[in-house]
């Protein structure tokens, strides 16, 4: 199926454009004219998608955005199928509530990437902002499934409140990585900020560099968890190659957060 290509006519620079209509579910059965007529909001004004993008192709659940759209929000939010590729940056809430399919962001993603997503794959070649894979305010749980892979750096509270799923970060993370997570897996290849895993209930955070841990994490042992081997083998399928040292080596295991039920674990190469 040839993709629908969205060529950026005029990228918003100030007032944000909200374009949850850029979603494979909506493009799949629509003609080019119908896609152009999909609604978007520039601040409090209603517009057509075609006012901002030149649409090429139709009736496809493959979408390519040909350019950087850092002020375009909600791209692929709630999508269940297909693939969205953005050849550049994307604005807030990309892939939030996502339930299937794939988003590839070749540039950077803004805050709230993949928040409360349930399934699917989000891959970012650049950096991602705060709260990727986390929860919106008030929700008990964040990401409920799916995979987020960020090749660059990330902001605060990435993977916070996570209930299930996998977040892989090749770069560095700021504070509260995996804070209050209920379960799930976070794998950080770069360096962590402060308070990693603060308030975590269960779940696993693997940090490939030494981490300054909270006093409420307790050291257990040095060992080679078999599960990591399964995880790393899987990561290779996503193009993430752990070093042999990381794949086969020993890890220091800490459990916490003892302020909560304390069944989470943080693994750091020994």
């Amino acid at each position: 199926m040839p993709p629908v290509i969205l060529r950026v006519k005029e990228a918003p620079t100030g007032v944000p454009l909200e374009a949850e209509s850029i979603s494979p579910d909506l493009f799949a059965d629509r003609s080019r004219e119908e896609i152009e007529a999909l609604p978007v909001a520039l601040g409090n004004e209603s517009h057509r998608l075609g006012d901002f993008f030149q649409v090429e192709g139709e009736r496809s659940d493959q979408i390519e955005v040909d350019g950087s759209i850092p002020r375009v929000k909600w791209v692929g939010s709630g999508m269940t199928r297909g693939r969205v590729v953005i050849h550049g940056d994307v604005g807030m809430h990309a892939g939030s509530y996502m339930r299937g399919g794939e988003i590839l962001i070749e540039g950077n993603a803004a805050d709230f990437l993949g928040v409360e997503m349930e399934a699917g794959l989000i891959r970012v070649r650049g950096n991602a902002g705060h709260r990727a894979g986390a929860a919106y305010r008030g929700s008990k749980f964040g990401m409920r499934g799916g995979i987020i892979l960020i090749e660059g750096d990330v902001g605060h509270e990435v993977g916070a409140y996570m209930r299930r799923g996998l977040v892989v970060i090749k770069g560095n993370a700021e504070d509260f990585l995996g804070a209050r997570m209920a379960a799930g897996t976070i794998c950080l290849f770069g360096r962590a900020g402060l308070r990693t895993g603060g308030g975590m209930q269960k779940g696993m955070i693997v940090c490939m560099h030494p981490v300054e841990l909270l006093p409420t994490f307790a050291y257990d042992c040095i060992y080679a968890p078999i599960f990591l081997r399964i995880l790393f083998k899987g990561l290779k399928r996503l193009g993430v190659q752990p070093t042999p040292q990381q794949a086969n080596g020993l890890y220091r295991r800490y459990h916490g957060d003892l302020a909560e039920i304390g069944k989470g674990e943080i693994l750091i190469p020994a």
Partner: protein, 303 residues
């Protein structure tokens, strides 16, 4: 029909349906994977006395979920529930106990039995569930859940659910030998060839059974007894199937994930067995009354 001068009876092996599962055991090296597998397959010769039939299917040096050497074990039992019970018992007692081991499902099937999901309680509340999704475990497959159970050497990883589907048990053929050493040699040749076939096990010791059985006995409390028709010593006392000159009979029983795998195993097994010292090849059946599968020797050997 004759192969290498050995006549093949115009008969068929009668086999029946049993539910099958396939387990992949890995460990730090092949030796320890094999130890666990052997232990798991132990005392799993016949459903009659063991409740299930278990055997080692083969080894897997690389392509395992954790990239460690592995051994595949097949387990057959009369019902899904029985498969589940025996998997839980055998993985729990023989694999979980074995140093460095991990245990994965290796059968994609609609029906899936909770096995790790039951063994997890051994973790006494410290067990950890991990679920991995399609792009990580290969696109198109279902998510897989693993249990990580803390044990004294680290952690025992066992998959939550194991696939089960209908398999075939009781595929067989009989080697009628002039005398025992020659018959045993022929049977060994057969087993060696058959072990290369995927998806089958020969559950008896070394793959070979000498105490073939028939249905029923003169004792009310026993529903199977020695296969009088093939015991050389009873050739004149009971109704016998043995021609003159047969001094020893050995049987090879095959359980397989599919009828095709059983047929293939029988085909390569019979071919390898046929040689000096073998008087005839036959097969065991119950007149077509017991099993749904019939493997006609002539048919499968001519293909």
């Amino acid at each position: 029909m004759e192969i290498n001068g050995v006549p093949i009876d115009q008969t068929y092996a009668e086999a029946f349906t049993m539910y099958a599962s396939r387990v992949l055991i890995t460990a730090i090296n092949l030796r320890w994977a094999m130890e666990a597998a052997r232990s798991m397959a132990g005392f799993g010769t016949s459903v009659i006395g063991c409740g299930c039939e278990v055997g080692i299917e083969g080894t897997e040096p690389q392509e395992t979920p954790d990239d460690r050497p592995g051994v595949r074990v097949l387990l057959f039992a009369p019902s899904k529930k029985a498969v589940q019970e025996h998997l839980i018992k055998r993985i729990g007692q023989s694999v979980m106990t074995s140093p460095t081991s991990a245990c994965y499902n290796d059968l994609e099937a609609e029906d899936r039995l909770s096995v790790g999901g039951k063994l997890r309680f051994f973790g006494d509340g410290f067990q950890i569930s991990k679920r991995l999704e399609p792009p990580i475990i290969g696109n198109g497959s279902r998510p897989r859940r693993f249990w990580r159970i803390p044990v004294m050497d680290g952690e025992f990883v066992v998959e939550d659910r194991f696939g089960v589907h209908k398999g075939v048990a009781g595929g067989n053929f009989l080697l009628l030998g002039k005398e025992l050493p020659g018959a045993l040699e022929a049977a060994e040749r057969a087993i060696e060839a058959m072990r290369k076939v995927k998806g089958v096990i020969m559950p008896f010791p070394g793959g070979i059974v000498r105490s073939g059985s028939k249905v029923g006995s003169r004792y009310k409390f026993l529903n199977a007894s020695t296969n009088t028709a093939f015991c050389p010593s009873l050739r004149r006392q009971a109704q016998s199937e043995l021609p003159e000159g047969v001094g020893a009979v050995l049987e090879i029983v095959i359980d397989g994930l599919t009828p095709e795998a059983v047929a293939e195993a029988m085909r390569v097994g019979v071919r390898a067995a046929c040689g000096p010292g073998v008087v005839k090849i036959s097969a065991g059946n119950y007149g077509g009354k017991l099993g749904k599968h019939q493997f006609h020797l002539h048919q499968l050997l001519s293909s």
